[in-house]
Subunit: 296 residues, 4 copies
């Protein structure tokens, strides 16, 4: 008998599901998984009292199920149908590598961090391309063997439509699972927010909802806060108001000038983006309304 | 039709279970809960790859089930039997108030903290009694309307047997769900560790396994660590080596002398003990071997 | 020869000073302290590039100086005069016990915490009185041997003037070093803010500037933040906008309802208030404009 | 008159000094600095009650002093002599770029992190060379335009002498201010510890003194701790026992296997090493016996 290889043994089918709550959902899903022989490796549930919805994420050892992904999806569709028409679900195979595209500007710390994680085999996705509205980060990107596209943005915001259109095309050719604004510093137009809804992820350099918009470290300095933070969130049409995936903070004091906050803040931005992106790519983030359920 | 009162609506049956892992456990349990009409409010699962065991905690709205606790236990026993003879489980009704007994010495910060939480309705248990090997904390205990028993301990450790025997009797009369060593500063004899196994909870003033034993802040100061911590753990016969429930740390620096560490450490001790005790009382802590699963 | 007792040895003269920055300030002050034989135990400096001001706090072993506090103040006044007319400074003797008055409402966790710290000898001040706009916390206050004054506040905010006048009198009779709004839940009128400027300290249950005003945990829940916090700040006429002394946060997730945030937030409120108050009482907080310098 | 350029304005002379404590040290030093016109930008002091030593670090705007570094050192030597023969001090010019050499093995996360910081202009030193006992990290190092030297280490520890001798020569040619063991995984022989005393900096992947030696994440997993950490320390002949510069921790839980701890631990290792190294390079770390004073 063939023992699965280590990496084959690590392959998972990951189900993420949200549906209006009622009795018996867990029984319905777990009975189905037991019927197909699924060995559950991770399972998380959340019954949201506020919205009346139920959310679950289940990771099943792929080798324990004698079905391909398509067949499993087909069979699970009947379970989902039983749970009602509002049910939202995805079913992914971790053996199929995901793709991400990064949008950058001049600040390279988040890019460097993600490139380093990719090189170390830590990122659960391939970086398909990097797109910059400045050419500064082209060299480091290419050194890692990744395509870099420079798109020039006009000074006048009113004239940036064609530039965004070009970005959209460069991104969409990869059909990525995540479009990461890694300190991109450009506000996406509403149609792009819609187009990439649930896939466009931003890192904002403040602990939202404090210090929305431009120059948050300057705002933090002026207010005299004792902690600064960063927020990883889905991009929506309303600036810095999308569903929050992850946040963290770091202590500062009176001796820290704006440039010190900028420097220390970078470490938090890197961490928060890396964590949020990882959870997104592992189907650990379920969005409902303005909020997220994160099965971290 | 009677609507359950708010507090009746908050009443839960809480199942905590561990068993050797195999396919179908979740289906078996959730199907049972669905059959008795159980509305699951919280559910957590953990399949432990290292030990090959499976753990779960489920909180069900009591009002959704048309059975009393005893009948529910009886019915669930057949499910547990199906899961095999090694299965360990408890089923509690949050409507039945738990009891705890505190063992203290001279240092009052943990006692004050727990009394304050009890007064604020935050503690999910009643403090049945406080026992001290010094009389210092008698007054504050009595002011809160709680019995205090002073048990004198001889200087010579070899002669403390009768004192511990007296403590055992004073504790056992309450048949408590937790015996909390709230900075008790006495090492329990092995037979008491056995007798209260899984119920005796200690707060140690270091980040274990660093600085086992006496005067951990002095040890931390001598080593020059940059963080100090506290550890809440179950008491076992091996000193400071029982299963860890919760830990946390706080930053110190070169300017902090031992007395500063003692002062700052108190805040961490209070927090860590309060969190660990709460989780224990809410059946969120499952012990397996030297380690815990904490569904916090 | 008499050796000073331990507590006499711990007595300090504490100088806190702010002045427009220029070369030689440290030399001027430290030369003065050396001349009077002062053994410096703690010294901290901050040159604020943004405001162009210089701040320092120095703690000198009182027994090393052959002068009483009044004489020392008189002599230092000539140094301060040399530093220019804008110079602000205080000089305190830690051997003279400070006094604080607490304002409370119904929520008792901050009061319990401060009473526990006072009982444990940890608070560097005496609690002279507690004033409540509800009688709920009278009993626990009196159990600790502290006077409690109940002041009834009318429903209509427009009619609360006399109540605030009564509070002012009850406070001012103690001439306290700090008036602590320990979850007082009433907005001080501007004249009281002025009257207690630099002494009135509030604990706000959010990470300001997020969630100003009422029901911050509800606001945090609605926004879906991943950390909640608390802020200790001086009270000014603009609501929740005074100089921040200390802040901290705690992690929450999607499973935490508002009441869970309220419960977990209490622990942060207690810690942040205790730290901020301690620093204030130890003359570690220097206010300049809307911001603080904290020599913690 | 020429205004100094922005970067000239940022140039500092940094004095770091330790000496047995006595009255008048601050006055002596600050009077000297005032006499040479020094504008103090940062100043920190610590009187260590335990050892009876006094430590200070002062950063002075270089442009405010009409002396070159050599002349300033010569003049300050007379001040230091007055403070007694045990006095230890350094005086650096931040306008003179420091050099570091990195020792690596196969794990690249700390190297990637430091290369990214260097590329972003964040590191206060140049990476002069990277030396690896495996060739794995050669390519990424060279992509950043930095020399990489591969030194083969024999399996048998007893035969590694020549390899260490080769490493010593490759390092010493750069006369570096820091020799960073960025997950080097080789224990330095005692003579190299002595040779690089105060300059060899290690990152250990545990919260020392817990889990000294090999495979600390496995040890942490086996013990069931609830936080894992990393420690940046000076290398001494006793394994993992040198003076600690910085430590930090991250929360883990029962669901984290060893490989999860390894992954999450990397983020803490990177941060702790980057912070510790930065402080070392900015002369913020003063070693005394087994401990450090860190003016961060």
């Amino acid at each position: 008998m063939n023992r699965p290889t280590a990496s084959e043994d690590d392959r998972r089918y990951v189900l993420a599901l949200g549906t209006p709550d009622r009795t018996g959902i867990v029984a319905r899903i777990s009975t189905f998984l037991a019927e197909v022989g699924g060995s559950i490796v991770e399972a998380a549930y959340h019954a949201d009292a506020d919205s009346g919805w139920f959310f679950t994420r289940q990771a099943v050892r792929a080798s324990s199920i004698g079905l391909g992904l398509d067949e499993l999806r087909e069979r699970f569709a009947t379970v989902a149908a039983d749970l009602g028409p509002e049910t939202e679900w995805t079913l992914h195979d971790t053996g199929v590598r995901k793709r991400i595209v990064l949008l950058v500007s001049k600040e390279g710390h988040c890019l460097h961090d993600l490139l380093g994680r990719a090189a170390g085999g830590e990122l659960p996705a391939d970086i398909a391309a990097v797109i910059g509205n400045h050419p500064d980060l082209e060299e480091v990107t290419r050194q890692h063997g990744i395509d870099f596209h420079y798109v020039s943005f006009p000074k006048d915001p009113a004239e940036r439509g064609p530039a965004f259109e070009q970005v959209r095309k460069l991104v969409d050719v990869h059909d990525p699972h995540a479009v990461v604004l890694a300190r991109f510093m450009q506000v996406l137009p509403p149609d792009l927010c819609d187009h990439w809804a649930g896939r466009a992820i931003n890192i904002h350099h403040s602990f939202l909802p404090s210090f929305v918009g431009a120059r948050p470290y300057h705002q933090a300095f002026a207010r005299g806060v004792k902690l600064i933070g960063a927020t990883c969130h889905y991009v929506t049409a309303e600036l810095d108001a999308g569903p929050i995936i992850e946040q963290d903070v770091i202590r500062v004091d009176h001796a820290d000038e704006v440039r010190d906050m900028v420097r220390q803040g970078r470490d938090i931005e890197k961490l928060v983006l890396a964590r949020g992106l990882r959870w997104h790519l592992e189907d650990r983030v379920l969005v409902h309304g303005r909020k997220t359920v994160v099965f971290s």
